[in-house]
């Protein structure tokens, strides 16, 4: 377990649970599996839902409900909660880019309810010793679910602040036991045109499945998580249920949704947007105010929700404000070329 975040400027160290406490707690929980744990969970559940009183309750599968209720709250949270105010759940769940359900921002919330997310399984394959097809429950259960309040910066120059619930991506990869040849991680979204009408469009330029990728060291970074919930509940379908990536220092399209396959590979995968428009979208897609999208500036962003009278335009920060944590991953790279 490597929750070791290097001297963050905007993330309070005190928000991060020390590893020792975390591990002790785990052993403690394991020892008390049964009655004791059950009691602890009910207390948690009340605490978690109180934070998001106005968020509609979800209906998580039986195995997930206690994991969500037992989530470690605010493992990562913004240093300035005034500047990075939580986006209302209603906006975060009704303004989405999820082209599997259509290209309009409200298409996903209108159409995603027909997606069946239970049961869900994920294939882990490629350069791993411990691959196979796993029920989502078996992938998630060994890890503690944590709440991470992250800024989400879309490549379209708008942004939100979202309280995710997820598990460490590094944990999942480590359990798969990558071989020495594994250099990159490739992710794939579900293909199910009968439930995902966007995949049925004959005018779509995306060659389904939607594919994303990370370098292995990026994937192992403690800020990278696999989301299973948000706002104290499970993920709404339009937000990538039941299992999605969240990499907060990269543009939103890197955080691939509804994952069904995770492959450890030797060569850099070609992500979907790079395949469509390589001059506009690169492999890294790190948030970078100094490298413009060919069609618009990335120097600023519109923090949502905004209004006609206050467009709420703020300066975009290098690596979306996570530079101190992730900057070293890119030391020596020319980020204007490796965008």
């Amino acid at each position: 377990m490597l929750i070791k975040i290097t001297r963050p400027s905007d993330l309070r160290e005190s928000d991060v649970t020390p590893e020792s406490v975390y591990l002790t707690r785990r052993r403690f929980m394991g020892g008390l599996a049964g009655i004791g744990a059950g009691l602890a969970l009910t207390g948690r559940a009340r605490a978690a839902t109180a934070d998001y009183a106005d968020v509609p309750a979800g209906s998580p599968p039986d195995w997930l409900a206690p994991k969500l209720a037992d989530a470690e709250p605010r493992v990562v949270a913004p240093a300035d909660p005034e500047l990075d105010k939580l986006t209302p759940f209603d906006d975060a769940s009704n303004y989405n880019n999820f082209y599997e359900f259509g290209t309009g921002k409200s298409d996903p919330s209108r159409r995603a309810d027909r997606l069946e997310t239970q049961p869900w399984s994920v294939v882990i394959d490629g350069e791993v010793n411990n691959g196979g097809r796993f029920a989502l429950e078996d992938l998630v259960t060994p890890s503690r679910v944590e709440e991470r309040i992250y800024r989400l910066r879309c490549v379209e120059a708008w942004s939100m602040v979202i309280p995710w619930l997820g598990i460490s991506l590094g944990d999942v990869i480590q359990r798969a036991d990558p071989t020495s040849r594994a250099k990159y991680v490739r992710f794939e979204t579900l293909v199910r045109p009968e439930q995902m009408p966007g995949q049925d469009s004959s005018f779509a330029l995306i060659d389904w499945p939607y594919v994303e990728g990370l370098r292995l060291d990026e994937a192992m970074h403690p800020l990278a998580i696999l989301g299973v919930g948000m706002y104290g509940r499970e993920l709404p379908n339009q937000n990538g249920a039941p299992f999605r990536l969240v990499v907060p220092w990269k543009y939103g399209f890197k955080s691939i949704k509804s994952i069904v396959r995770i492959s450890l590979v030797e060569q850099p995968p070609v992500n979907s947007w790079q395949a469509i428009a390589p001059n506009e979208y690169g492999f890294y897609a790190n948030v970078n105010p100094n490298v413009d999208h060919p069609r618009w500036s990335q120097a600023t962003e519109r923090r949502l929700p905004n209004s006609l009278f206050s467009p709420n335009i703020i300066d975009t920060r290098m690596f979306n404000g996570y530079e101190e944590e992730v900057g070293s991953l890119y030391a020596g790279m020319d980020l204007t070329k490796q965008y």
Partner: protein, 240 residues
């Protein structure tokens, strides 16, 4: 009703090559006068219909139904409506050929000006809600981004046509007026190109717009355009 049938009799006897101006002149002054209130009503109706999208989206924003980014909502919708207005304007000539109803020619200027109004509103939305009225950025964005350059060129064409749409300019420019207003064709192409560069992952919607634009152009090809009045005559000759 009597008026309509009398007019159709005229056109049946007319040679297809004869200009439509002669038909227009053949309509008697008294008939024109009788129809005037109806035509005024027609123009008002067109005005109301053209205003409806803008009013509807503004109401949605005011009611809080436009989502977390109402400025972008207006920007994108108004941008598309600009193309609707342009299509409507360009459909008037084929419709007139097809029906010989003078009401279509009467709303040409109005719809042209609506196209301009929507285009200007689209630019205003961009400057206000996307750039936050940072005028220095407006300048640099206009220079740097090809799709914005294309959009601005299209808008310039609309402005030129808009300011020369009055009677005085028509008289001043004489024959050149018609040549000048052929600008509408490059404006259509630029508008579609501007839209093309904005959409990325799914071309369905853009394809519909492009097909509509292409159809309106095909209807102007002399070979096709000549058929339009004949089409009408053929349907009218057919026994009911």
């Amino acid at each position: 009703m009597a008026q309509v049938s009398r007019e159709s009799d005229v056109s049946v006897t007319e040679a297809p090559t004869a200009g439509r101006t002669s038909t227009r002149r053949s309509t008697s002054k008294s008939a024109r006068a009788r129809r005037q209130p109806l035509l005024t009503l027609w123009r008002l109706l067109v005005f109301a219909v053209a205003l409806t999208p803008l009013a509807y989206w503004s109401a949605q924003v005011a009611l809080g139904n436009a989502g977390p980014e109402p400025g972008r909502y207006l920007l994108l919708n108004i941008g598309q409506a600009t193309l609707w207005m342009l299509f409507a304007t360009l459909s008037l000539t084929p419709l007139t050929k097809l029906t010989r109803w003078k009401g279509f020619a009467l709303i040409r200027r109005q719809l042209g000006l609506w196209t301009l109004a929507y285009a200007v509103s689209h630019l205003l939305c961009y400057a206000l809600f996307i750039l936050g009225l940072d005028l220095s950025r407006l300048g640099s964005e206009i220079i740097r981004r090809p799709y914005i350059i294309v959009g601005m060129l299209a808008l310039t064409g609309l402005v030129v046509m808009g300011v020369t749409s009055n009677q005085w300019s028509m008289r001043r420019l004489g024959k050149r007026w018609k040549t000048l207003h052929k600008l509408v064709y490059p404006v259509l192409a630029l508008g579609l190109l501007h839209f093309f560069w904005v959409v990325r992952a799914d071309m369905e919607q853009w394809s519909l717009y492009a097909a509509t634009g292409a159809l309106l152009m095909i209807l102007r090809l002399p070979v096709v355009a000549r058929q339009l009045p004949r089409l009408r005559q053929r349907t009218q000759r057919r026994p009911a």
